[in-house]
C-alpha cells in the first residue's frame, strides 16, 4: 500500500532539490527587497572580517599608487585653500573641518562586473554611518550607503542599474537623472533632460541637490557624447569622474538624512 511516506522516500532527492532552490529564491528576493538584511552579504560580520584581511594584503601592493594619488589630492586641496584663505569661505571651511561630518572608509570589497554592483566599506553604524548617506571619493560621487551593519557598510555605487541620482549640467538650468545601463564601467547615461537643453560635449555634470542624499555641486563626470533627436530628450553619455576599478578609500558624509524623507521616498 502506498503511503505519503513512500512518496517522500521515492522523491526525497527531488524534494530536497526543490527545498534548496526555494531557499535560494527566497534569499534572492530578500536581498532585493529587504535593505535591513546584511547577513548574507560582505557587510555581514564574518564575511566582512575576511574581506578586511584580504583587502589589507592587496592594499599593501598598491601603496605606491595610493601615496601618489594622496599627494596629488593634497596639492589640489592646498591650492584651493590658498584661493579662499582671505575670503569669507574660511569660516565655512573651519566649521566643516571642526565637525565629524565626514568619515573616511577603506574599500574592502568591490565588484564591477555585474549589473548590481556593490562596494563594502570598513565602517558601520558604530562609527555613525546610516542608510542613505552620500559616499564620494576625491574625484567625485561614488554612490549612497545601501545597508549598514555594526562595523561594515554596503554602498550602492553609480555602477548599479538600480541607482539613479538627480544631476544637472554646470552653468545650465537643466536637470536629469544619471543611470548606469550595465557593461562599460567608465560611462553612464544622463536621462530625462529637456529636449532643448543646450548641452555640449565637455560640459561638467554635477549633483543637483534635489536628491535626498547629495548636496548640490558635487562632481559626477563630463559629457562625452550626445545623441539628439527632434522633440525627444537627448541621450547624453557621461564619462564618470571616479574610476571604480581603482577605488581604495571613500568619504561618507554623516549628515543625517531625515527619516521622514527616507520613508516618503521609499513609498
Amino acid at each position: 500500500m502506498r503511503t505519503p511516506l513512500d512518496f517522500f522516500v521515492k522523491f526525497r532527492h527531488l524534494l530536497l532539490f526543490i527545498v534548496l532552490e526555494a531557499v535560494c529564491m527566497s534569499l534572492i528576493y530578500r536581498h532585493n527587497s529587504n535593505r535591513d538584511n546584511v547577513v548574507f552579504t560582505t557587510a555581514g560580520n564574518v564575511a566582512g572580517v575576511f574581506c578586511d584581511i584580504s583587502s589589507s594584503v592587496s592594499e599593501y601592493f598598491g601603496l605606491r599608487v595610493e601615496n601618489r594619488r594622496l599627494a596629488d589630492e593634497n596639492a589640489f586641496l592646498r591650492s584651493q585653500l590658498y584661493l579662499v584663505r582671505d575670503s569669507v569661505e574660511v569660516a565655512r571651511l573651519e566649521a566643516l573641518t571642526s565637525s565629524d561630518s565626514i568619515l573616511v572608509g577603506r574599500v574592502i570589497s568591490n565588484t564591477i562586473n555585474r549589473n548590481q554592483n556593490y562596494i563594502t566599506v570598513d565602517i558601520g553604524s558604530v562609527e555613525g554611518v546610516a542608510q542613505g548617506m552620500p559616499v564620494y571619493a576625491s574625484e567625485g560621487v561614488v554612490g549612497v550607503v545601501y545597508r549598514v551593519s555594526r562595523h561594515f557598510s554596503l554602498v550602492m555605487p553609480l555602477l548599479n542599474t538600480s541607482s539613479s541620482i538627480s544631476c544637472r549640467i554646470r552653468g545650465a538650468d537643466c536637470f536629469g537623472f544619471l543611470r548606469w545601463n550595465g557593461g562599460d564601467i567608465y560611462h553612464a547615461s544622463l536621462t530625462d533632460l529637456p529636449s532643448r537643453s543646450g548641452v555640449f560635449i565637455g560640459d561638467t555634470v554635477e549633483t543637483s541637490g534635489f536628491s535626498k542624499s547629495f548636496q548640490s555641486g558635487l562632481m559626477v563626470g563630463i559629457v562625452s557624447d550626445i545623441e539628439e533627436s527632434e522633440g525627444v530628450s537627448p541621450e547624453v553619455t557621461v564619462n564618470l569622474a571616479v574610476d571604480f576599478s581603482r577605488i581604495g578609500y571613500v568619504y561618507i558624509e554623516t549628515t543625517a538624512v531625515p527619516q521622514e524623507l527616507l520613508e516618503l521616498t521609499s513609498m
Binding site: L16, I28, N115, Q116, Y118, S162
Partner: protein, 179 residues
C-alpha cells in the same frame, strides 16, 4: 580511515578552490561582464553514484559561501544546486553507468573528447543560470550573451588546466591523482 582521509582531502580542496574563487577569480572582470569559475569542478567530478543528498547540500553550501562574498545571496547557490541535480544525467550522456560502479569523472575515465564536452555543458548550465538570475530585473541581452560566452570559455580553459596539471600528474608509468 581511508574514507575519512578522502573526505578530509575533498573538504580541504573545496576550501582552497573557494578561496581562489573568492579572493582571486571574482576580481577578474573581462569586458566588465565575464568572470571565470573554477570551484564548480568539485561538483562536476563527484561520483554520480554517490550520495545525492550530500552532493546537493554541499553544492548549496559552496554556492552560498561564494554568494556571501560576492553580494549575490542565493544566485550561485541556486545555479550550483541545479548543476548538482543534473550532473548524473549529464554524465549518462557520455558513458553508461552501472549503479555499483564508483566513478570519478575525468579525462581518464571519460576520454579527452567526452570530458571537455561534459565540462563545457556543465559550465554553460551554471554560468547561464547565474547570468539569468543576476539580471532578472534588468536584462541587457547583449552584455548577458557576451558575459555567458566569455565566462564559460575562461572557466572551461581553467578547469582543463587543473585537469592537466593536478589530475594527470604522471611520473613514469604511475598516474597519481590529486583531485
Amino acid at each position: 580511515m581511508i574514507m575519512l582521509v578522502q573526505v578530509l582531502k575533498k573538504v580541504m580542496l573545496s576550501i582552497l578552490l573557494l578561496a581562489i574563487q573568492i579572493f582571486l577569480l571574482n576580481r577578474i572582470s573581462v569586458l566588465w561582464c565575464a568572470t571565470p569559475y573554477v570551484y564548480i569542478i568539485m561538483i562536476m567530478i563527484c561520483d554520480p553514484n554517490g550520495s545525492v543528498s550530500g552532493r546537493l547540500v554541499s553544492a548549496f553550501c559552496m554556492g552560498l559561501v561564494v554568494d556571501i562574498f560576492s553580494d549575490t545571496p542565493g544566485v550561485q547557490a541556486a545555479a550550483l544546486t541545479l548543476l548538482a541535480f543534473l550532473q548524473p544525467s549529464l554524465i549518462r550522456l557520455f558513458m553508461t553507468l552501472d549503479k555499483r560502479d564508483h566513478i570519478v569523472p575525468g579525462a581518464g575515465s571519460m576520454g579527452w573528447v567526452s570530458y571537455p564536452v561534459y565540462i563545457l555543458i556543465c559550465t554553460l548550465i551554471f554560468v547561464l543560470t547565474v547570468a539569468l538570475l543576476s539580471s532578472v530585473s534588468s536584462p541587457d541581452w547583449i552584455t548577458l550573451t557576451v558575459g555567458v560566452v566569455l565566462s564559460t570559455l575562461m572557466s572551461v580553459a581553467l578547469i582543463l588546466c587543473i585537469e592537466l596539471v593536478f589530475r594527470r600528474n604522471i611520473r613514469g608509468n604511475k598516474r597519481r591523482r590529486f583531485l
